[in-house]
């Protein structure tokens, strides 16, 4: 079979699934030269679509010239890649040793019962997906459940319903209506954890928490989640004009730099928006460049 026919086939399929695959090409081009670029490509596709669609994997295989089974093997090997669309709200329960002895299995059973799905599945309405992991590194707080990036510690069976309710409300998804100010639900493009913190409000909306490094200092930084606002709070003063490096507080990976700011040539970091899309912000303090790409 020639590569051409593979691509042909996947266009039909993606059209049938109603997914646009036109962003996969640039992603592949971006990492093609790198050693170990496959992981980066899959990571970017996952960040873009929330999962790894089959046509996208076929395209990667066709363009990189690796057999599909090799790419499929990599995609199934890593837990952070998902082959099925994940729900809007991602609930992740720990079944590690420490949590297990504290009754995590009962919590998972309850979650499964309440949501009507098995671990690893997504509810038919696409609202929730449930997953189990083998340790979240917060063993003293077990049983631990992470709902949309919020860690719930010492979860009881009776608290599961409440937890799900809060997750369901936790930020109505950002509707791209083009209004001058609306609230963004940002998540880390790598690990998909939600970044807003309900405990800290800036302009009456939960702030977006990131880790920042600037001039040799490290600390948290909170950005207003209202699009267009440039209010921030930070652990240490950030002088105007200095360039900040952002890190996701969950996976501790630097936010990907999508481009260079055309105003001041500082790097432009990008966050993912829960409703779909990217939020590009210039890393220079005081630079007004924010750009939203809604998809």
């Amino acid at each position: 079979m020639t590569p051409g026919t593979v691509v042909q086939g996947n266009e039909d399929r993606s059209a049938a699934a109603g997914i646009e695959m036109d962003e996969v090409g640039p992603i592949i081009e971006k990492h093609r030269k790198q050693r170990g670029g496959l992981i980066a490509i899959l990571g970017d596709i996952q960040a873009r679509y929330g999962y790894l669609p089959e046509p996208a994997l076929r395209m990667v295989s066709g363009q990189l010239g690796h057999p599909l089974e090799e790419i499929y093997g990599v995609a199934t090997f890593y837990r952070s890649f998902s082959l099925a669309p994940r729900g809007k709200h991602h609930v992740c329960a720990c079944l590690g040793t420490a949590c297990h002895v504290r009754g995590a299995q009962r919590i998972v059973d309850e979650l499964e019962r309440k949501l009507g799905i098995q671990a690893g599945q997504t509810t038919p309405d696409g609202e929730f997906s449930l997953e189990t992991v083998n340790c979240l590194g917060a063993c003293a707080l077990g049983p631990v459940v992470v709902a949309d990036g919020h860690y719930h510690s010492k979860v009881r069976k009776s608290g599961v319903g409440d937890l799900l309710e809060r997750a369901a409300q936790g930020g109505g998804s950002a509707e791209a209506n083009g209004a001058p100010a609306f609230v963004l639900n940002a998540c880390c493009p790598r690990c998909q954890s939600r970044l807003e913190e309900s405990g800290h409000l800036i302009e009456n909306h939960p702030a977006i928490r990131l880790d920042a490094a600037c001039r040799g200092r490290h600390g948290w930084i909170r950005l207003s989640s209202v699009y267009g606002s440039r209010q921030i709070a930070s652990e240490f003063p950030i002088p105007a004009g200095s360039v900040v490096e952002f890190q996701c507080p969950h996976c501790h990976i630097a936010l990907p730099i999508s481009s260079r700011c055309w105003e001041c040539d500082a790097p432009v970091a990008s966050l993912q928006i829960a409703g779909g899309g990217k939020w590009n912000l210039c890393c220079r303090r005081g630079c007004p460049q924010h750009l939203l790409e809604i998809s």
Binding site: E54, L57, P67, L68, E70, Y72, G73, T76, F77
Partner: protein, 225 residues
């Protein structure tokens, strides 16, 4: 050239030769399961373990994938090797008791007990089929999926592969999906049939005390009929 000793016998080999190849050159037999000439070494089954180094600091390595090193001392039949090998066979047998290849190995190595629960899996994940498909058939239709306990072999997305030509090479090399050995009761953990019967090629006197070296030996099948 690299010089090393295998079971005390000095030998010189080209760089890049594996210990298994060097031992075979000397005529020293090492049992293998996931190794196949013509396919890249993989080291999955650990059946070909040998002991390297000088006592008391020795290590067990898989000879099919370990390259010869200058001055290496290799022992292929030490007590430690045999013990480890028997354990490996017992574990393989627990995974796949229906495989004739593994049952034959068990008989040949005198495995008389089974201490593990039998799983009756279809696959021991030796990777022979994956390698034969990619390296000899140039197809790459099947591969490993997931990891750990959930590791399986199959086609991407469990769909019929577009690159598979149904050549059957994967089944040909598979040591697990062959017929089970049926000499005694089919459900016994260890058949051990051939371990107790004299090879017909020797006992019938037709071949002047020469063994036929047929592999696998069909002695148990002949004895049954």
């Amino acid at each position: 050239m690299i010089s090393l000793t295998i079971n005390g016998i000095p030998i010189e080999v080209e760089p890049g030769t594996t210990l298994l190849e060097a031992a075979n050159y000397l005529g020293i037999a090492i049992p293998t399961l996931c190794h196949h000439e013509g396919l890249s070494p993989y080291g999955a089954c650990r059946l070909c373990l040998v002991e390297i180094g000088v006592r008391p600091r020795t290590r067990l390595v898989s000879s099919c994938s370990y390259p010869a090193e200058p001055g290496l001392r290799v022992r292929t039949g030490s007590e430690r090797v045999l013990r480890a090998r028997r354990m490996v066979i017992e574990l393989l047998l627990a995974t796949c008791p229906q495989s004739k290849v593994i049952q034959d190995l068990a008989s040949a190595h005198g495995i008389r007990q089974q201490r593990f629960r039998q799983e009756h899996e279809d696959c021991i994940l030796c990777g022979l089929c994956v390698r034969v498909c990619a390296e000899q058939m140039m197809a790459g239709a099947i591969g490993f999926r997931s990891r750990g306990q959930g590791r399986t072999i199959g086609t991407p997305f469990d769909k019929r592969s577009e690159v598979c030509r149904l050549c059957g090479a994967c089944m040909y090399v598979c040591p697990a999906c062959q017929l089970r050995c049926t000499f005694s009761e089919p459900d016994k953990a260890i058949c051990g049939g051939c371990a107790n019967i004299p090879a017909p090629c020797v006992s019938s006197g037709q071949h002047d005390d020469l063994m036929c070296y047929m592999n696998p030996c069909a002695a148990c099948e002949i004895a049954k009929t």
